[in-house]
């Protein structure tokens, strides 16, 4: 099969983007809020507010892609940018009335979407209406007024003088809200310019323009007519088709209350033809699947070396002046700085820097077309083999894989397909996630791994997140301290969202209470689903029962104590040397591991590490966190082994750098090499861990606390005997008589009474000590019965640094009922 390349696919004229930049208002003087915390920089608030703009997806609006903070409160907005601004075409080509009506229709559809989300454009002008080669238009830069909180977060005025409705000037341009009706006025001006094909009042100065607009308030009769007369275009005015004239005149009504809304205007008969045309697309049963989106293209572009900041510098939108020029004129002894004001002309730059995509095209030029249509599953090996071999990056470290544009292209294309088929593709998603999770889709993939249902949003909407509760104070003091190095989480919107999610969770889980740490636990979900609070909440709600069942009970001490006991036992199981040392210096997990497990490390690691850790955690069960704990200890093993109590505890008070990829590898390896029942707990969620009488049930905490070696279930022992006899060493410590009467196949007999426990010397057990010394990776199962001491012997083995020692729960008799039997009599040992 001959295959084309992907370039035509990538070179879609609409898949282009550009950037604009401006400065946020700088805080003056001492910058502390009422709570004593420093004021959040306005650029962070802007970035937080702007996130929601990314979710706007309408054919007549350019999509927002990214918001970047530069130095000194510089804010950079990256958005789709394609086509030609109408302003560049006026007076240069003719616009037919039908064309203008179509443009009016598309602008109105765009504005309708914005107004529906309570976003006012405020800067609508022919400069930011982009005409596409297809004849359609797209609005650009419509989010500035929203992201700057109605202009209050920037120190330049957010409006386009000529297009601004008179009431905006009358009310004062700094008023903190705006009626969407002002956009309708601006639309009127834009359409008037097109219909008259004249750049209006181009020769007037700023003040004169404002006076001109205000003079409209005095006009009796048609404003359009007045404009036409002033531009020597009265003839065009008379020739204008009635329907178009009517639209413009209704828009240019000086009374906002009499000006129509988008919806009202869209009901005009002249627009109905477009509505009918649009309807055709929706006759298809399901919406067409986009092969990739502009968000993904932007992501790949960045990975392929695209750098917005650099590009802005190259194109002259960011100019750095020598540091000496930015020295303050005067610094008072209290630290107040004077005379460092920025030139107001540089605060906002109307220019747009188009981002060049050639490097990306070049990078992806060789990629064959079928890559965009990955074969998900096929029963035919011939077909499956015909697929191009996927880009092999398995050997590369995770951080490199995440930065490799080509690999991410493959992963994103494949996983987005799979997500599209969720929940039916859940198994494939799990399988692929085990390899790695592409960062761009992590939020959605996590939601899929947590089995989030489609109706999550309704559930969230219905929960009371407003009513004051006694927990509020605690939540309020915790949030401003939770992962605040992250821009999204430190923004005002981030704080509000986190608070709502936590309140919703407390409300929804009346059996639980808010524990400090829940904030950190929620942070990764909010970070990944910043524009979808409902999903973040749904993820948290699914995550807690799976991994932290009953950890947030008002009295959780039993649950936590049991968990910490199992942690100690797991250390003993895999690393007896370390366990013995920690035991000797009385270094208990209670002293350091509570925040680890209560927040599943979200309180101890920065976000980027948590993401990689949880990528794996989500594929495992609730015992995985203790394996992570073990892997952290393993990384610090050498220092722990040579340290006393104080040094050890200090080490954990300020956790040193931990390599997360290593953590994941280590913990996955111990997780896979630990019989499931070794980490089973009485307090784990029965919904996820079904148990029968051959499992470990009914073990009391007081008993558990006495045991340094874990127990193993009869089920696991039977499994070893039947399927993996070479991976186990069964030690029967009952007396020889009972042993010879009946014993487990392949077990050896070391009668309890025959061993001297006075010193920790393995040779004390005599004949079989060699088997233990050379046991390798084998799991050592100690089998006794009701009459034997089941603590001394395993502890003795542990103290002799024998690894993987565990005790059969319920003793020998538990195996009697197993059929087909694993027992044998007259053992010839």
């Amino acid at each position: 099969m001959t295959v084309g390349t992907t370039l035509p696919l990538l070179k879609d004229p609409q898949m282009q983007f550009g950037a604009t930049t401006f400065f946020a208002k700088q805080h003056k003087g001492d910058t502390c809020g009422s709570n004593g915390l420093p004021l959040t920089p306005n650029s962070i608030i802007i970035v937080g507010r702007a996130q929601t703009l990314k979710t706007i997806n309408c054919p007549y609006l350019c999509q927002y892609l990214d918001f970047i903070r530069g130095k000194h409160e510089r804010t950079i907005v990256v958005s789709q940018y394609c086509g030609t601004p109408l302003a560049e075409l006026i007076e240069k080509r003719r616009f037919e009335p039908e064309e203008i009506v179509q443009i009016a229709y598309q602008i109105l559809e765009g504005l309708k979407v914005l107004h529906g989300r309570k976003i006012v454009h405020r800067t609508l002008s022919n400069d930011n209406i982009l005409l596409q080669s297809s004849g359609d238009v797209k609005l650009f830069n419509y989010g500035l007024f929203h992201m700057s909180k109605f202009g209050s977060l920037v120190s330049f005025p957010v409006f386009q003088v000529l297009y601004t409705a008179p009431e905006v000037f009358l009310n004062g341009i700094n008023r903190l809200s705006s009626d969407p009706k002002c956009d309708i006025w601006s639309l009127g001006v834009c359409l008037a310019e097109l219909a008259l094909n004249k750049v209006l009042w181009s020769s007037l100065k700023l003040g004169q323009k404002i006076r001109k607009i205000l003079s409209m308030l005095q006009v009796n009769g048609s404003i359009l007519e007045k404009i036409a007369r002033e531009h020597n275009s009265y003839e065009q005015y008379l020739e204008m088709p009635e329907d178009l004239k009517e639209i413009i005149e209704e828009c240019l009504n000086v009374l906002p209350s009499h000006r129509p809304t988008c919806d009202l205007l869209l009901k005009k008969p002249c627009f109905q033809q477009f509505k009918a045309k649009e309807g055709e697309g929706f006759r298809k049963i399901c919406p067409p699947f986009e092969i990739f989106t502009i968000h993904e293209l932007y992501h790949w572009w960045q990975l392929a070396g695209g750098d917005v900041l650099l590009e802005l510098k190259k194109q002259g939108l960011i100019r750095s002046s020598p540091p000496i020029l930015s020295l303050p004129s005067l610094v008072l002894i209290e630290g107040v700085v004077l005379g460092q004001d920025r030139n107001p002309a540089t605060l906002y730059d109307p220019r747009i820097a188009q981002m060049p995509l050639d490097a990306l095209y070049q990078r992806f030029a060789h990629i064959p077309f079928p890559v965009f249509y990955p074969l998900i599953h096929s029963k035919s090996e011939i077909i499956a083999d015909a697929d191009p071999p996927p880009y092999d990056a398995t050997a590369l470290p995770l951080v490199i894989k995440e930065k490799d544009p080509e690999y991410q292209l493959h992963r994103v294309i494949l996983l987005r397909r799979l997500l599209h088929g969720y929940p039916f593709t859940k198994d494939f998603i799990v399988e692929q996630s085990a390899k790695d999770i592409p960062p761009l889709l992590r939020g959605e993939i996590w939601a899929a791994l947590l089995n989030i249902q489609a109706d999550y949003e309704t559930t969230y909407t219905r929960i009371d997140k407003v009513t004051h509760t006694t927990t509020d104070r605690q939540i309020e003091v915790d949030i401003p301290r939770c992962h605040q190095y992250n821009e999204l989480l430190s923004s005002a919107d981030g704080h509000k969202k986190l608070k709502r999610i936590l309140k919703a969770w407390v409300y929804q889980n009346s059996q639980y209470v808010y524990w400090q740490g829940l904030d950190s636990l929620t942070a990764p979900f909010l970070y990944l689903n910043f524009n979808d609070e409902g999903k973040a909440f749904a993820c948290l709600s699914a995550f807690v029962p799976k991994f932290l069942h009953n950890f947030f009970l008002k009295d959780n001490s039993v649950v936590i104590e049991e968990y910490l006991c199992k942690f100690s036992q797991l250390i003993a199981f895999h690393d007896p040397d370390l366990a013995n040392h920690l035991h000797e210096i009385n270094f208990y997990p209670q002293l350091f591991a509570i925040p680890w497990f209560l927040t599943l490390f979200s309180h101890v690691f920065p976000l980027y590490k948590i993401l990689h850790l949880w990528d794996r955690l989500l594929l495992c069960d609730s015992s995985f966190p203790i394996h992570i704990g073990l892997s952290v200890l393993t990384q610090l093993r050498d220092r722990l082994l040579t340290s006393g109590f104080n040094e050890c505890i200090l080490l954990f008070s300020d956790l040193p750098e931990v390599d997360i990829e290593k953590c994941v590898l280590l913990s996955t390896s111990t997780y896979q090499n630990t019989p499931r029942s070794v980490t089973s707990r009485e307090h784990e969620n029965g919904k996820f861990h079904k148990k029968d009488e051959l499992d470990i049930v009914g073990l009391k905490l007081e008993e558990l606390k006495k045991e340094r070696c874990p127990r193993i279930s009869a089920n696991d022992v039977v499994n070893f005997v039947r399927n993996r006899p070479n991976d186990v060493l069964l030690i029967d410590i009952r007396n020889p008589t009972m042993y010879s009467r009946c014993s487990v196949m392949g077990s050896i007999n070391i009668p309890f009474s025959s061993v001297s426990f006075s010193d920790n010397i393995i040779d004390n057990i005599g004949l079989h000590s060699a088997a233990l010394k050379s046991k390798g990776h084998k799991v050592v199962v100690v089998i006794g019965d009701a009459d034997t001491d089941l603590e001394t012997f395993p502890t003795f083995l542990l103290q002799c640094n024998i690894s993987k020692v565990c005790v059969l729960h319920g003793g020998f008799n538990r195996l009697l009922s197993v059929t087909p039997t694993v027992l044998t009599s007259n053992n010839a040992m």
Binding site: R481, Y485, F592
Partner: protein
């Protein structure tokens, strides 16, 4: 463990003087600045967004007092009411405690009083308690009057200072004042208190003197 007289040989020029170790615990409502005080005292740092403490954190700091070297083993506890059940594990056997409140929040002062009562009832009888009114840098938003807290402190025999972890005001001073007040008499056996770090989960009572010195 081995006895800690080893610390006496530290090359700090103080080897001739006494070395005393004290266990000190910080208590108080959450977000009053306990961790910030410790961080300022131990590392001279201040983080605006100091993360909340879960469970407890452990730090040490050594100060010199005349001819004596005092080593504080500091347990910084979680403030949230729910972690209350863990608190005895940390204050048990402590020779000193700093109860912290936020001068801009009256409730935290109330909570501080509760902590003082609990310490007087449950902790070692000779425990030295200091009351710290933190966030003094926000004095213009003060809700707890200096005199009110001072009177309370005098009535209950507490050391009292208003502190600011942010500006470092009185931070070293309060630890120093505690160090001065702690008994450093040599007849105390050098063994008792030295293991307090590991007694956390046991119910043992600490030596009555509550302090230990080793030469």
């Amino acid at each position: 463990m081995a006895n800690r007289s080893g610390t006496a040989q530290r090359p700090n020029g103080q080897s001739q003087g006494k070395i005393c170790q004290f266990k000190l615990v910080l208590l108080g409502e959450s977000a009053v600045g306990k961790s910030s005080l410790v961080l300022r005292f131990v590392k001279g740092q201040f983080h605006e967004y100091q993360e909340s403490t879960i469970g407890a954190a452990f730090l040490t700091q050594t100060i010199c007092l005349d001819d004596t070297t005092v080593k504080f083993e500091i347990w910084d506890t979680a403030g949230q009411e729910r972690y209350h059940s863990l608190a005895p594990m940390y204050y048990r056997g402590a020779q000193a405690a700093i109860v912290v409140y936020d001068i801009t929040n009256q409730d935290t002062f109330g909570r501080a009083k509760t902590w003082v009562k609990e310490l007087q009832r449950q902790a070692s009888p000779n425990i030295v308690i200091a009351l710290a009114g933190n966030k003094q840098d926000l004095a213009n938003k003060r809700m707890v009057e200096y005199e009110e807290a001072q009177t309370y402190a005098e009535e209950n025999g507490l050391l009292f200072m208003e502190t600011s972890a942010k500006t470092a005001m009185n931070v070293n001073d309060i630890f120093l004042a505690i160090a001065k007040k702690l008994p450093k008499n040599e007849q105390n056996t050098g063994q008792g208190g030295s293991v307090q770090g590991r007694r956390l989960t046991e119910g043992n009572t600490e030596p009555k003197t509550g302090a230990n010195c080793c030469k």
